[in-house]
Symmetry: D2
């Protein structure tokens, strides 16, 4: 959705930037520069060509509006981008223009670029996830022995401790974070297959440079270098999308609980008060759980997006028609939603307003006794 | 996705504008102006206040970047918008500021604005759908008696006519267009419920003005006025989303067939040649079915988006937390994809390059005889 | 899911029967009998053949276990079914066997059969929806002036009346019921296209009987007869699936609200007590909202199923590979879930245990005054 | 879907059994027996009680039809199951009845049972995946140097080798298999939390037996024993569902390619001929790609099902209402579809009818030269 008014409540300026036009342009140029550098290293093109190409791969030579229009017409960004890059290179070194994009194809650029953007996105998520986990651990320990009512099927159940509830949240986040890291390990790979996925056109005799070029590119770009190009095997993107959707689900589990605890009749925990946040255009007394709202919205949107990434997998032959092309905007949307949800929840947990007296009062009113089983020791064991 | 480079291949500048920031701002201001006009008409506020408010409801008084940031913080666009509107009004008529947004709430603005945007979007779709249907009818008639091979389960079957294939496409589009019109009839309604959905705060004695205000607003805005506010009953949006997804599916049925006919080994029909479209960054001989690609991509993305609009329906109480807030960007995305797909297909059908000789040749090669049943008369009956 | 233990909590024995093996077999036989009758009427086959075929089209001649195994192997039910039908017919009238299934193909049987099953399913839903709507209307009127707290974003808002809440529920159900009826009107159609969708093989001279046969079959089966066979245009099934998912969403809106009202700390409305329902295997004091649980589960499952019916639309050529074949079990699942949800909610509404005193008490405790706007008159207007 | 006629084409009798009623009953009884054994080992109940309970936990004492009906009414299987188990135990040892289900709750049974069923399901998938991978590796090596046309965007591209295409398929399957194993490692865990997730009710003094009981149960059942009960953290099930959907996608990638190669005009590879499979009820000459059809159908259904498992994650408090209850049938459906797809594809690959001459002919006809880059060496490196 190209609308700040609709996008900003759901995500962060940082993640918008990571998946914005400028970042995509930079990532595509990084691909072309790394390709040239790798091909020079492998002896496929002269080193001087690689230098000329590297020097030309800077944003300033490209105009996003014009590129966007041309890409929409051509059906792919790489065509106008490479054409413009050749112009820029030729202006400095006419001979080097022929070495631009050598052996590569549009999808190589597109796939590698989205992986570079994903890498940036994962760094943002990783950074904020670490904060959230620390805050959750502290909260769980602080309330390991704070009694409250457990509720099952939205009904009064038996006593538990607030710390045990929080330890459960943390367990969910830990698992989601570990899955995301695992999927990133597999997915963040360079794509380099050329027109037909055979790494033809490198001009080599006897071949073999393809693997070396891919390997060198991967090193330059900080990506993995898989055994085969993955232009027609899309499970890495699907796995990444699934991991993001599951992270959003784990965040939304907390938002669900907090929003229920913040109901007027329960009143056991609240989002922190923040000036200008959570107000109502009609009711001055409202203190809306705006952080939880962002997270719960994300959790309604993420499943359908992840499903799309499963649906695109069975593409046609060496490069499908319509499937892989649908993935980049959907994966981007998942990053936007996941970071929006995470960033909305971090301050909620950091400043959560816990009313232990209200917890005690509601527990007493329920008349379900005092047996909270092993709640405190479960917390100590899980969050040492 | 706030990225032109990723959005433009999938949609049109027109639909981007219809769901862009400026259009959303205009729609929200149209709500506030219509509300004031309706309330003046119903005697709830002085006519002079309505005039002052109407005069202030112009884009120029508002700065989108600042609004977007404030809305992200507040959790809703209406709060900063109404605050700024009050300022602008007060500068011209201090007394009128108190009549701004009277009896309304944030969701009233948001829901009505999205319906105004949907109305614009539907007009664009309706316009292009009429062209497509005309072209399909002409194509079906022109080829009512062009023999070709029917294919079932991706295998050679028996003879049919190309006109019958096209008549089937048209039937799918007709049904999808009719459904979209029906759903629009139900969904494009003004939302006016106030803080609790009770239309309180209109300052009336004995009440009753709420319905009149809603009715007058609807007339001003060109929307329907349902018996009750719909802030907590979201089936209209879900129905609209489903109709858009089904339209995309009907378009993609054509794109699927055309892309299969355009395979090198089949070679019976092709997208029209257009300079700079469908090329390859690696292979000069390619004539890629770029229009079909856009449509097939849309068809992979629409189902998950429509599913989200079903999932948001069971919101909490008088105004839910996270559900309805997730809808506007998802509905917008469906409009973007549907119009992108439609606009990509219109020129494909208008200029479809049909090779009747190749159809004949493939049919002969299959050796399945000449019995095409009632193919031509089926066309004449369905597309008179 | 072939498991009673898992299916029964989610649906009803009636709907299980409507979409069970015996019903499918009966529907497929009804197709074959109607086809023979229609073809005899149109002069395509002798009347005596139609009689022999009609007499053979009874369940007792077929064994479901064997058919299921053979259908799984053949990839379609029609092949073993027609083979067995020919045997049965031949035993009575050797000549008539050649008239079995004349001009039809597997998908004609499969698609028409699912429509006959859908018709049964819609009758069950229609019957129970009428009861629910009557009960909701009565409940809305009875509580038009019962004050309660409106809640927005899960926070205390302003006063409303319980009747207005119920009137909103009813509006959602009315809209969903109307949409379902509209979609059924379009979708419940006979499918008769033959091997290539051209209605070949009817042995006519000059053709034209295809339309007459289809028309007569439709009359016999109580289905519509569209202008063209719809084997490759699947929007009818997609529309029906969407309407079912939206109905489930409208039901779940009620279940959401009731389950929130039934929370111990709110305690304003409860599912009726019923012996053996809603108990806990661990806590004797529990009164779980089991009806709401069934409805909310259905609402989590329906969106993904409806999305599948959008995704299958772009099938290949005259009869796709994998797409339409995926639809019948998914549509069946939607019927099962929708009727399960409806049947779970009917007794909840009929016996809803409303605590008006608790509503008053919570409203007073919130301290938000007494202004409920036009709540009562809104009810009277919407539910006269 | 409780219909053999609809279920069998999509899945296998083995997987139907693994998720059938009898298997579910056995798994639930295995939970109760393991619980008793573990509690006896931890000193929570007398060893003689555990023996009596273990002896009673045999299928023969339970009647599935009656249990299904009672479970549907009660809203959970555990209530009638435990009631009946107590009867059976009491008949042998009156005192032991009080030790049945001690400290456990319905969800403990349900969640652990589904994990035991998943374990069986994973074993079936693992077994057949090993066969498929072996066959793919052999096929890739056999055709490492078989030239064919690569096709991109459904258009003629450049030469490649069939072995490289197959090596790509294998890479997708390897990745999907590894992901499934990883997710199983995390998800296949015992659930034991008791009524409120606190492991209360074990009768201990000082507590601590809960962890020991869980640990012992896990050992008996062959499941993992996580740090905390997971009744409210559902990411394991979501991850498992995602991995199954991705496996289906990787299988469908092959089915897509094979079905396109098997088109009459391409004719490069075919499913093996098998008597009675792939026929047409209307056309004797057809050789339908029935295996591919099953796989492609599964790939259209799996995404929506996996999305449901993401959507259920944000459940309410210690045990949600409607969310987790929706998961078991959906996860079962994913297992059914995944094994159906896998089992349909194994014989297709094992007996794939590859026409290398046709590949050569189509390649020559395309006139795109002979440069297949590093195709053969890419195969040797990837599939040593």
């Amino acid at each position: 959705m190209v609308s700040l008014l609709r996008a900003l409540p759901a995500t962060t300026p940082e993640m918008l930037a990571a998946f914005g036009d400028a970042a995509l342009l930079r990532a595509a140029l990084a691909f072309e520069a790394a390709l040239a550098e790798a091909e020079a290293g492998a002896g496929v093109i002269p080193a001087s060509h690689a230098s000329a190409i590297g020097a030309a791969c800077v944003e300033e030579h490209f105009e996003i509006g014009a590129l966007a229009e041309a890409a929409a017409h051509a059906g792919t960004l790489a065509i106008p981008l490479v054409a413009r890059l050749r112009e820029v290179v030729a202006a400095a070194d006419a001979g080097a223009a022929a070495s631009v994009h050598k052996g590569a194809t549009s999808q190589d650029v597109a796939d590698t670029a989205v992986m570079l953007q994903a890498k940036s996105g994962l760094a943002l998520i990783g950074r904020d996830l670490a904060v959230l986990r620390g805050d959750l651990a502290a909260l769980a320990r602080a309330h390991a022995e704070t009694p409250m009512l457990a509720r099952t099927l939205l009904q009064v159940a038996l006593p538990t401790s607030f710390g045990l509830k929080v330890a459960g949240w943390l367990a969910g986040i830990d698992a989601a974070g570990a899955r995301l890291a695992r999927e990133a390990g597999g997915a963040l790979a360079v794509q380099f297959g050329g027109a037909a996925g055979t790494r033809a056109g490198l001009g080599g005799q006897g071949g073999g440079q393809g693997a070396e070029v891919a390997h060198r590119m991967a090193a330059v770009l900080g990506l993995a270098s898989p055994a085969l190009p993955w232009q027609a095997q899309r499970d890495g993107i699907a796995g990444l999308g699934a991991a993001l959707a599951i992270l959003v689900g784990a965040l939304a589990k907390m938002a669900r609980d907090i929003s229920l605890l913040a109901q007027g009749e329960v009143a056991e925990a609240f989002e922190p008060r923040e000036a200008g946040r959570g107000g109502s255009s009609a009711m001055a007394h409202k203190r809306n759980p705006t952080g939880c709202q962002v997270v719960l919205s994300a959790a309604l949107r993420a499943p359908g997006l992840a499903a799309t990434l499963f649906a695109t997998m069975p593409g046609e032959h060496e490069r499908g028609l319509g499937g892989w092309q649908a993935e980049a905007p959907v994966l981007a949307e998942l990053f936007l939603l996941a970071h929006g949800a995470l960033s909305a929840l971090v301050p909620v947990i950091a400043g959560l307003d816990v009313d232990a007296l209200a917890m005690r009062r509601n527990l007493d009113a329920a008349g379900v006794g005092e047996d909270w089983g092993e709640a405190p020791e479960m917390v100590w064991r899980a969050v040492p």
